[in-house]
Amino acid sequence: MNQHPLTSLFGYFALLSLFAVGGANAAIPEMHRVAVDVMHWMNDRQFADMYAIAQMSPGPNVIIVALIGYHVAGFAGAGVAIAAMCGPTCTLAFFVARTWDRFKKARWRMAIQAGMVPLSLGLIAASASVLARTADHNVYAALITAATAAVAFFTRVNPLWLFAAAGVFGLSGWL
């Protein structure tokens, strides 16, 4: 298949977005599978870097698709990737929002909601595992991951401080 990169970007992200229950973080493994394993757009390390950059920058996490798009096809790639990731689901959200309130008490609505919660949890957990495998390639990195997880779980520290501390550890050259 010799598709134009913009076409493949659009196709992959539009398809992906429709199954990304739980948001951008639920879609990370699929992005990784496509970008690294299937399309060979980048290597493991570049993917992990882009995840870190997206997390460090302000705004919604979905912004990582703009980074991937830019890497593949420059500004046009970024625009196409973000439009594909948001366009279909925003259209869906727009139309569902107008009818959803009417079915507030409907049993099927509660069933769908109840059914989606565990799936999105499982998918986000899968993201954490895929990212941990690309990011934690030695004991020190794994320790930073564990320490950050504990601090973020038990306290309400601003994540930027955790990033700063981890960046300093990284700079020290142990990782």
Binding site: L16, S17, L18, F19, A20, V21, G22, G23, R33, Q46, A48, D49, Y51, A52, Q55, M56, S57, P58, G59, P60, V62, A66, L67, C86, P88, T89, C90, A93, F94, A97, R98, R107, I112, G115, M116, V117, P118, L119, L121, G122, L123, I124, A125, A128, S129, A132, A135, D136, A141, T145, A149, A150, N158, L162, F163, A165, A166, G167, G170, L171
Partner: protein, 186 residues
Amino acid sequence: MSESPAPQPFCPSLSELFRAFALVSISGFGGALPWARRAIVEQKRWMTTQEFNETFALSQFLPGPNVINFSVVFGSRFGGAAGAAVALAGLLGPPLVIVMVLAILYERYGDIEILSRILTGITAAAVGLLIAVVAKMAAPLFLKRWNSAPVFALLAFAGVGLMHWPLPYVFLGLAPFSVAFGWFER
């Protein structure tokens, strides 16, 4: 949890909508949700806590980025299609500009040893943050009396995270059963 007073019965203008979401987007590190709640419920009082939770629940169950969906649902409630477009533009515009600058820098300087070391550390921390999110989401599901939710969460995790199967297959394979259990379990 503090009780939030009833929202004033007024309608934000399109430019107010844009500014509110633009502000949320640039202050929201590590996800924009907490900031959206703060701006809309506590500062602007456009919604009560309960309205916010219900609107957000809807955007969470829809596929795609949650906060993006939320901006569309919220914007359309106050300003129809134009409101939805304006809220979305506010939420995506400023972070896109920032991240494009970072992308240019990364493509040019990403190979520099010092930068790549720092990024390695930050990536490890970012994974830790994600694990904390998972733990917070999982606690209520796993602590309840026995129900099917943990089973489906584990199956979704195994299919995508361990077997590396494509997301659409895993989703379409599990969703019908998960929803069916949602129907029969109360």
